[in-house]
């Protein structure tokens, strides 16, 4: 299968400049610097590259909304979102560890494309090791003269999932509490310090060297319609070979599972969370679904950031929903009421169910609470709070019934 980002992962010293350069490293940047910024953006548009941080927004289109320097003069910024905190996602971590120069090259290409003289790499606070690696790589890139057009700066998060949301991340960078902003204005118009800012995911930016080197069309050809290139899944849970797997966009769920060795021996598939715990699960019937941002919607879920969690029949939907809602309750930023209070309420009900104290009213009540949260909050975390329990109730009503009746028996 075609690999872009992980192609050279067999190279033990890929994280060092010398090795990276030997393997076509920084050729994409060199190419980009021979082009006008608008031409770089055009190439990225052609590539059908979609944002791999979770939302799948077309990267070239996002850059296109940055006001040109002659219209809005003054600084503009690019920020790498390396805050990866969605449970089930660990692909950025591996990309940072193994291929820091690939990211730096992509970042420098993006900086050129939008005319940013400063570019930031915001690293999740817990990723100390990755921070050290990227810091070293930045120094190498500086010494090699790649950063003449844009200065690179590193920043660290303080350990909040919500900081991964672009507007909350910008607040954090400004030294404020990570409370998401409510666009408009979008960050590309008024982002960091109210200046035009592009926030892109580690994986998204890491795709750019290939796109510039090989051309947007070559990249687009690898993927499916409107979903160019590859996607890196972090596969975990009840599989034989958990790990990261890079596959072309539009690959079948079945094929990704096969790469990961399938469901662990002696067990049967219950469901697959496709993109991190915020995404509703896929079922056995979805095994032949093509995985890209658009086609996965047919199954009522999202590709997210490719954090695939495979669950077998030993998993209990109530416990799974509780686990995820507990995380979301813990990570809700607390800014808006429905998410702040609703997450807590929902989690408490689930917890009571787990303790055998559920009642038949709880299920319709949680459904109602969820409906009253999703779509009525400030950010997508809150949407998730209202969605997760409902998704598990809808797909596994028997698990909920059983919890309640078992509890009533004891």
């Amino acid at each position: 299968m075609t690999k872009i980002l992980t192609k050279h992962f067999d190279e033990p010293k890929l994280h060092e400049l010398e090795t990276y350069k030997r393997l076509d490293g920084y050729k994409g940047l060199e190419k980009a610097l021979t082009l006008a910024p608008a031409e770089v953006t055009a190439e990225v548009l052609k590539s059908n590259l979609r944002g791999l941080g979770g939302a799948g927004f077309p990267t070239g289109a996002k850059w296109g909304t940055v006001p040109p320097v002659d219209k809005v003069p003054g600084p503009r910024y690019v920020v790498v979102n390396a805050d990866e905190s969605e449970p089930g996602c660990f692909k950025d971590r591996v990309l940072l560890t193994r291929a820091p120069h690939q990211l730096i090259e992509g970042l420098l290409i993006a900086a050129h494309a939008i005319g940013a003289k400063e570019a930031f790499i915001f690293v999740r606070g817990e990723y100390q090791n990755q921070y050290d690696i990227i810091e070293k790589a930045v120094k190498e890139a500086e010494a090699a003269g790649y950063t003449k057009h844009a200065k690179l700066m590193l920043m660290r998060g303080a350990g909040a999932y919500i900081s991964g949301l672009d507007t909350a991340l910008l607040e954090t960078m400004e030294g404020k509490k990570a409370w998401p902003r409510q666009p408009p204005p979008f960050p590309t118009v008024a982002g960091l310090m109210a200046k035009p800012t592009v926030v892109n995911n580690v994986e998204t930016l890491s795709m750019l060297p290939f796109i510039l080197r090989e051309g947007g069309e070559a990249f687009a050809k690898i993927g499916s319609a409107k979903n160019g290139g590859t996607v890196v899944f972090s596969v975990s849970g009840h599989v034989e070979k958990p790990g990261i797997y890079e596959v072309p966009m539009g690959s079948k769920l079945r094929d990704v599972l096969t790469l990961a060795g399938g469901v662990r021996k002696g067990h049967t598939l219950k469901c697959v969370i496709p993109g991190g715990t915020s995404m509703p699960p896929l079922m056995e019937k979805d095994l032949d679904l093509a995985l890209d941002f658009d086609q996965i919607r047919a199954a009522g879920t999202f590709l997210g950031a490719g954090g695939m969690i495979v669950l077998d029949e030993t998993a209990d939907a109530v416990a799974v929903a509780h686990n995820i809602e507990r995380f979301l309750t813990h990570e809700s930023c607390g800014q808006c009421t429905p998410c702040r209070e609703g997450s807590y309420w929902n989690e408490e009900i689930l917890e009571r169910m787990l303790h055998g104290k559920g009642t038949p009213e709880d299920v319709p009540n949680m459904t109602r609470i969820g409906e009253n949260i999703t779509g009525k909050v400030i950010c997508a975390l809150g949407d998730t709070v209202g969605m997760v329990t409902r998704a598990y109730i809808q797909r596994f009503p028997e698990d909920f019934k059983k919890r309640i009746s078992d509890g009533q028996k004891s």
Binding site: G334, C336, P338, R340, E341, Y344, W345, R352, N372, K376
Partner: protein, 492 residues
């Protein structure tokens, strides 16, 4: 001038400025959309989600505090879906609310109670335990904080961040453990701290001096003007007369700012707000002749005696910017030919700032100025008294001891042959006069003050006068009649 556009509000066609927030445009059109976090002077963080409405063509409900009016916008504020969304936003606000209304000062004027009656009225389905937080934090000299009641709308933090820029309050921690707290190392002690009580939509921030004093539904409200300085902040006087045994017997329970875009916006300062305590202290209610010995007299008797004494020259009139325009006009007539002394002395001068507070702590020096009156200095007055040039000294609501010190004031007072004190409250040396006349306090009369910018503002009568007290202008008229009557008698 913003462009006018037409948009639809619940099917009605409405004209409004393009770009005006839907929540404001709806209010202009008589439709009140529920809201907590939005405040016209503090912005629209959009965190309470109460003001949700339906906008045709939008994929999901929108918050009207962050939606702008544009041509052709079609907004529904009362559809079933909107009602459900608003009721549910309210329900979620109450998941962890302590519902301690019976012991909460906000009860009766609480955003949670009001909206529950308006848009709630559902059966609670919360079976879980509520979270507990700190219920008794002395946030500052004037304000108590109950974290459990707080709905985290951030109005108060935006006030201290943007209006006073003193940053004493903040929302700390995250998610459901979040709570409103004092910024470490600070207390809520700024010149405008009381305003956070007004803007708090619930009972989380309450006035310490109002705590447990009187239920708000026993209060009457009267439009007034704060007499605390020459800004003339528009206020509402909240009086407690229905339950006189509440509020420690004090008739004025509290003052609240009234919105006036031109003068004070939504705010008032703490000095103005909390100076009601002395209002009923040492009130004068009887017309008294004090010499040769203390004796009750009628207004008529006092008037004819005093009026006669004011006919000849050598009269000095001491007053202050506490007088209303009506008082000044009557005084000008009565004391024509007399020397006036009313400038603010150190006892009436205090701190000022860029927000509201003015240096001179009286409301109406400008009213005297507008009538062409000017004040002599108190040094001149002292000199004239020493020199025996002042035969009759008429003092209104002014404590000479605060200007000259007790001993000197006493000695200077003794130099005048005839002395009258008039005012609502006792002052030092108010026994050392020949007559003492009871005047109404500003809450017991109506009138006008002219603020430092020349804006003339009316204040209304909130309470009945104490005893025989009359407004100053009324006393001056009475004396003027007596004075001219006396003159006429003499002429006859």
């Amino acid at each position: 001038m913003a462009k006018k556009v037409k948009f639809k509000l619940d099917g009605r066609e409405i004209e409004a400025d393009e770009g005006r927030l839907v929540i404001d445009a709806a209010k202009d059109a008589g439709v009140n959309i529920p809201h907590y976090c939005y405040h016209p002077a503090l912005g629209n963080p959009g965190n309470c989600r109460m003001c949700i409405v339906e906008v045709a063509g939008a994929p999901k409900p929108q918050v009207s505090c962050r939606t702008s009016v544009r041509e052709g916008l079609d907004v529904k504020t009362a559809s079933d879906a909107v009602k459900r969304a608003q009721a549910s936003a309210l329900e979620l606000h109450l998941v962890n609310h302590p519902l301690d209304c019976p012991v909460c000062d906000q009860s009766g004027e609480c955003g949670l109670q009001n909206y529950y009656m308006e848009i709630g009225q559902y059966q609670s389905s919360v079976r879980e335990d509520k979270q507990h937080k700190d219920k008794r934090i002395e946030a500052g000299p004037h304000v108590m904080l109950d974290q459990e009641r707080c709905i985290l709308c951030t109005r108060c933090t935006r006030f201290v961040d943007n209006v006073t820029q003193t940053h004493e309050l903040g929302v700390f921690r995250r998610g459901h453990t979040e709570r409103l707290e004092l910024t470490p190392g600070l207390i809520l002690d700024n010149a405008y701290s009381g305003n956070v009580v007004d803007i708090c939509p619930v009972g989380a921030l309450t006035d310490r001096d109002f705590r447990y004093k009187v239920r708000v539904w026993y209060l009457d409200q009267t439009d007034s003007i704060c007499p605390g300085c020459s800004r003339g902040c528009n206020i509402s006087v909240h009086t407690n007369t229905q339950r006189p045994w509440h509020n420690d017997g004090k008739r004025v329970a509290r003052l609240k700012p009234r919105h006036n875009h031109e003068v004070n916006g939504y705010w008032m300062c703490d000095e103005g707000r909390y100076n009601t305590g002395s209002l009923d202290l040492g009130r004068l209610g009887r017309v008294l002749r004090l010499s040769p010995q203390k004796q009750d007299v009628s207004w008529e008797a006092a008037a004819s005696e005093i009026g006669a004494k004011l006919r000849d020259g050598g009269v000095a009139f001491v007053a202050s910017g506490m007088l209303s325009n009506e008082d000044w006009a009557a005084a000008k007539e009565l004391f024509a030919g007399a020397k006036f002394y009313f400038s603010a002395q150190p006892d009436q001068i205090g701190e000022e700032d860029a927000l509201l507070r003015r240096r001179e702590k009286v409301p109406n020096l400008k009213g005297a100025e507008a009538l062409g009156l000017s004040s002599g200095t108190f040094d001149e007055l002292a000199k004239d008294l020493e020199a025996g040039k002042v035969r009759a000294l008429y003092v209104v609501e002014r404590d000479l001891a605060k200007i000259w010190g007790v001993e000197r004031a006493k000695s200077l007072l003794s130099k005048a042959a005839f002395r009258v004190f008039q005012g609502p409250n006792k002052v030092e040396l108010s026994e050392s006069y020949d007559f003492r006349l009871p005047a109404t306090a500003y809450v017991e009369e109506e009138g006008h003050f002219t603020n430092f910018e020349g804006i003339v503002q009316a204040y209304c009568k909130a309470l009945e006068p104490i005893g025989e007290a009359r407004p100053d202008w009324d006393i001056f008229r009475l004396l003027a009649t007596a004075k001219s009557g006396a003159a006429a008698e003499v002429a006859a």
